[in-house]
């Protein structure tokens, strides 16, 4: 997957600095020829991928795919975190202790560490449409299983199984990359991911309201919460059927054509994996994403119960406040990516790194404030600022990831995503499972951990672009983009010409030098044979 063009994360948006300010459309970009023979509602390129991103359109197949994709991901977020706002009721029904609740929260995010890694392979084998439909429809029974739960153990197991469905993140991003041109894929993927993550907020609003309605209709509290779980379950089934019925893998509709396209050499998985895990930057970003997405998932799990207990609010009031945390994703994640692009225009990669550090550290500081706030208005303000910081940091992270590696991009993205979930499990284990300190103290400690664990971003150094504190290497002929991306291929592979895609990318990535790009000429040892 890493060797193919237009794979997820291969966004070229902003790389030359000459494109339009907002990546909604590259229709006027003369370097991408429009295929005028194709009969689609939107202008498409030679692969029939859309060149424009019209958010409010449902045009088949591109925009329809976008909406099916993000809504499926949103549904999975809703069901994974559906229990969180209902915990005050569930803990009485099942006689849960704080340890049980903490373990269930950890379980809910742990399942997808594994399933996200597998989902990539599933998308390759079955195509994103079936991969998404299989996951979402096979996890519907796990949501319905909540009606059977009668003990702490059962509760933990069911939340673990529901958590598998978060792997729709991978199918969502993969599907977007088959439908949208790589120059706008960054914004498209960021919007899809952000709107999907919103589900974690929407559920805090939806579930208490459903619970109230069902209880008023006559059910006892301990039955009402179980019935409430049927709604996310039905959403799974409905979205699964819509994806199967209305979706298609490719703009032209056939999966078999993808399989017939053997002209792109398939890379060796072992090599791809090797270059991913031996790049030290990968592991720094695994840690960093755990402190942005990870803490976002953790907060989705604990925040409603926190407001309910600390400020003695009603269940649906606590849910409404908690919802604003997750709903901020509608703008804050795309905002983080946008800030990253803006910083890169002037300062290149160094700007992107500083942007990430500032956003994530701000998020950490506001998390500390959230834990220490004693009044409701101060608490809500801190929470909103914390959400903006953490979610914008998520967007900013994936503004940098595409540049870590060209060959191993898929694996690095998958590892980073898994790291996010791992960070969530870890923070829940450390701060929200034991009774040694209150949830408020746990939040403050988590904020301190965020600030401390964001410091390693200062260590990310690119020889050709520099790092936060160090300038790029003076020896531009030895340390340039081509040598960085070329170093992932050995001499044998270079002789076979397998590295040409990386070289092309290297040339396009020169914009990460910032304003200096205009004065840089093509280094003498880069190939000009763009005849791939």
């Amino acid at each position: 997957m890493a060797g193919e063009e237009n794979s997820p994360g291969s966004s070229m948006h902003g790389v030359t600095g000459k494109e339009q300010t907002f990546a909604f459309s590259v229709a006027s970009d003369p370097t991408i020829p429009t295929d005028s023979t194709a009969k689609f509602a939107l202008p498409v390129d030679s692969e029939h991928k859309s060149k424009v991103f019209k958010i409010l359109s449902f045009a088949n197949p591109h925009m329809r795919t976008f909406h099916l994709s993000w809504i499926s991901f949103f549904t999975c977020f809703v069901s994974t975190f559906a229990a969180a706002p209902l915990v005050p009721i569930i803990r009485d029904d099942l006689n849960l202790t704080k340890t049980d609740i903490g373990n269930a929260g950890i379980a809910s995010v742990s399942g997808s560490i594994f399933s996200r890694l597998v989902m990539g392979a599933a998308c390759d084998l079955l195509g994103p449409r079936y991969a998404c439909a299989f996951l979402i429809m096979l996890s519907a029974p796990t949501v319905f299983c909540m009606s059977f739960v009668s003990s702490a153990g059962g509760y933990i197991v069911v939340r673990f199984m529901i958590g598998f469905s978060l792997a729709t993140f991978v199918s969502c991003q993969y599907w977007m990359s088959t439908m949208f041109n790589s120059r706008i894929i960054g914004l498209v993927n960021g919007t899809a991911a952000g709107w999907g993550n919103m589900g974690g907020g929407a559920t805090q609003l939806l579930m208490p309201v459903l619970y109230e309605l069902i209880r008023r209709a006559g059910a006892t509290p301990f039955t009402a919460w179980r019935i409430a779980f049927f709604i996310p379950g039905w959403l799974h089934v409905i979205m699964g059927l819509l994806v199967l019925g209305l979706g298609q893998d490719l703009p032209d509709g056939n999966l078999s054509t993808l399989q017939k396209k053997g002209d792109v050499p398939k890379d060796q998985f072992s090599k791809v994996l090797w270059y991913a895990i031996t790049n030290y930057r990968t592991w720094i970003f695994v840690l960093l994403y755990g402190m942005s997405l990870g803490v976002e998932l953790t907060t989705d799990n604990v925040i409603a119960g926190y407001f309910f207990d600390r400020f003695d609010l009603k269940l649906h009031t606590a849910g409404t406040i908690a919802a604003t945390f997750g709903m901020a994703n509608i703008v804050s994640r795309p905002f983080g990516g946008l800030m990253s692009d803006i910083a890169a225009r002037r300062f290149g990669m160094r700007g992107r790194l500083w942007n990430l550090w500032i956003l994530q550290t701000a998020g950490g500081i506001f998390c500390i404030c959230l834990g220490r706030a004693n009044t409701l208005p101060l608490s809500i303000t801190s929470m909103i600022l914390f959400s903006i910081g953490a979610q914008a940091a998520c967007g900013a992270t994936f503004g940098i990831i595409p540049f870590l590696s060209r060959r191993s991009l898929g694996v690095i993205s998958g590892l980073t995503g898994a790291g996010g979930n791992f960070g969530s499990g870890l923070t829940q284990l450390l701060f929200f499972t034991s009774s040694n300190y209150s949830t408020a103290t746990g939040l403050s400690l988590m904020g301190i951990m965020i600030v401390a664990c964001t410091i390693p971003v200062t260590l990310v150094h690119f020889p050709q672009w520099g790092s936060m504190f160090l300038p790029p290497s003076k020896d531009a002929s030895k340390f340039n983009e081509e040598s960085y991306y070329g170093s992932e291929w050995n001499e044998e592979e270079k002789e076979k010409g397998l590295h040409h895609g990386s070289l092309k990318f290297a040339e396009n990535s020169r914009s990460e030098r910032g304003r200096r790009v205009l004065s840089v000429s093509t280094p003498p040892n880069s190939t000009n044979s763009m005849c791939v």
């Binding site: 005050p88 202790t97 029974p141 059977f148 039955t223 009774s435």
Partner: protein, 203 residues
Amino acid sequence: MAIQGFLVVSLLFSCLAATSYGLTFSSLQESLIVTASPKHGQVLSAGEDNIVVTWSFNKSLAAGTDSSYKTVKFKLCYAPVSQQDRAWRKTEDHLNKDKTCQHNIVTKPYSSSNNTFTWTVERDVPTATYFIRAYAYNSADHEVAYGQTTDAHKTTNLFNVQAISGRHVSLDIASICFSAFSVVSLFGFFFLENRKAKMSQAK
């Protein structure tokens, strides 16, 4: 005697006046004797079993102590074993922060002796270990005294309630039906499409 009673009451009133919202449990006098029918360790079923509560004023205390008592509110309170590892049921001295007693039983007008009532354990009481506490309120609706079925360390006369499970057979069946529908329609779609593709390939 009357002066002693008056002093106690005025002391309480002044406490209330100074910190009217900061009333603490330790400032209350245990002047009510409360007994309940369940024996120590007995298990009651929510929604079915009854509790008979008998209560009166502790006559060994000075007369006139209870002159300010207007109403008595009975509550079902969590025993320490049910508070362990559950911060949402924590005991705090400040009464408005205390979460020990979360279930109201009944409110009765105060009378010093021969009081008894029967209460059916409500359907939404969760499974836990409990005791019963009564708070006496004055006319300003502030707590002035209390009584409880257990001792000061909350170790005696604790009884259990077994809650009604939220599960229903109809829910279980609905759940199985929808799950089956989801799986069957998925695989049905998959095989149908495969067959259509094979048929069109064969043509």
